[in-house]
């Protein structure tokens, strides 16, 4: 029996993905053809705290003015619209200048208290939870 020691995230990947990641680790500067796609949709982490959710959007290289955040009918939409960079790209793996991501947040969020900041390339949207008592409609017995 083979004994497997520490498993890195790479070990748990399926073989094509692992090959892809290993290829990335040994790349040249001009390799426009070896990538199948350009990441244009930023990755998102969501952390749930006791009093609030935090949405972290990994969208590096923008200015805070490029973002628009909207909360409408229980759906939070984050869009970015920045000028597309120009130049002679010999390798192109990311372009986060134009994107849109939506999240269903429902009525558990207090929309008036949502705040956002852009720090080290991560857009952090803080969504304070509504007091559960507020959501409950009390019917008094007459």
């Amino acid at each position: 029996m083979r004994f497997k020691h520490a498993t890195s995230p790479r070990d748990t990947m399926n073989p094509p993905l692992r090959k892809f990641v290993n290829d990335l680790a040994n790349a040249s500067l001009s390799d426009i053809a070896d990538r199948e796609f350009v990441y244009t949709r930023p990755s998102v982490n969501i952390v749930e705290g006791e009093t609030a959710f935090e949405i972290q959007v990994a969208a590096p290289g923008l200015q805070k003015d490029a973002f628009a955040i909207q909360l409408q009918e229980g759906v939070l939409t984050i869009t970015a619209d920045a000028p597309r960079p120009e130049g002679k790209f010999t390798r192109r793996e990311f372009d986060y200048t134009q994107f849109k991501r939506s999240f269903k947040v429902g009525d558990q969020i207090d929309g008036d208290k949502v705040t956002a900041l852009y720090e080290q390339g991560i857009l952090i949207v803080r969504l304070p939870k509504r007091d559960p008592e507020e959501l409950r409609t009390r019917i008094s017995v007459k």
């Binding site: 995230p9 073989p15 998102v44 390339g121």
Partner: protein, 146 residues
């Protein structure tokens, strides 16, 4: 619409895995094994060299380690964890750039001693200038007629 017969022996390409990943709904997401932990890189060629952009948000410039050994440029980062983050708190986890390493083979034309790096808005930007004599050579020379 093209219908493709499912063949269990056919390896799933990365791109189709990627599509599946984005077509999942928010509530489905928990438990996914795909987290971006290798930052994407763009390289732009200019007249005087190359500009390399590493999309590695959420770090501090002190977290990076950049070195050149022979013709190999290695960029690595390790984020010093300030506070213990309880993994259970993540209801969605698509990225984690806290620790990575990427290497690139540099063309001979690059002046290794002139490489500069800057971290701004989550992008690590390296300028890789060509050797002065190469730039001069590429530009050519106009011979004046005396």
């Amino acid at each position: 619409m093209n219908l493709i017969k499912f063949d269990p022996m056919m390896p799933r390409t990365f791109s189709n895995m990627f599509d599946n990943f984005f077509n999942r709904s928010i509530s489905d997401f928990v438990g996914s094994d795909f987290v971006m932990n290798m930052p994407s890189v763009n390289v732009v060629e200019t007249d005087n060299g190359y500009g390399l952009e590493v999309a590695a948000p959420g770090l501090a410039k002190e977290d990076f380690d950049i070195s050149v050994e022979k013709d190999r440029l290695t960029i690595s980062a390790r984020k010093e964890a300030k506070e213990e983050v309880n993994e259970d708190k993540f209801t969605r986890r698509e990225f984690n750039y806290a620790s990575f390493q990427r290497s690139f083979y540099l063309p001979e034309t690059i002046d290794k001693d002139a490489i500069e790096a800057r971290y701004e808005n989550g992008v690590l930007r390296l300028s890789l200038p060509k050797k002065a004599e190469i730039v001069k050579e590429e530009k050519g020379r106009t011979i004046e007629i005396g």
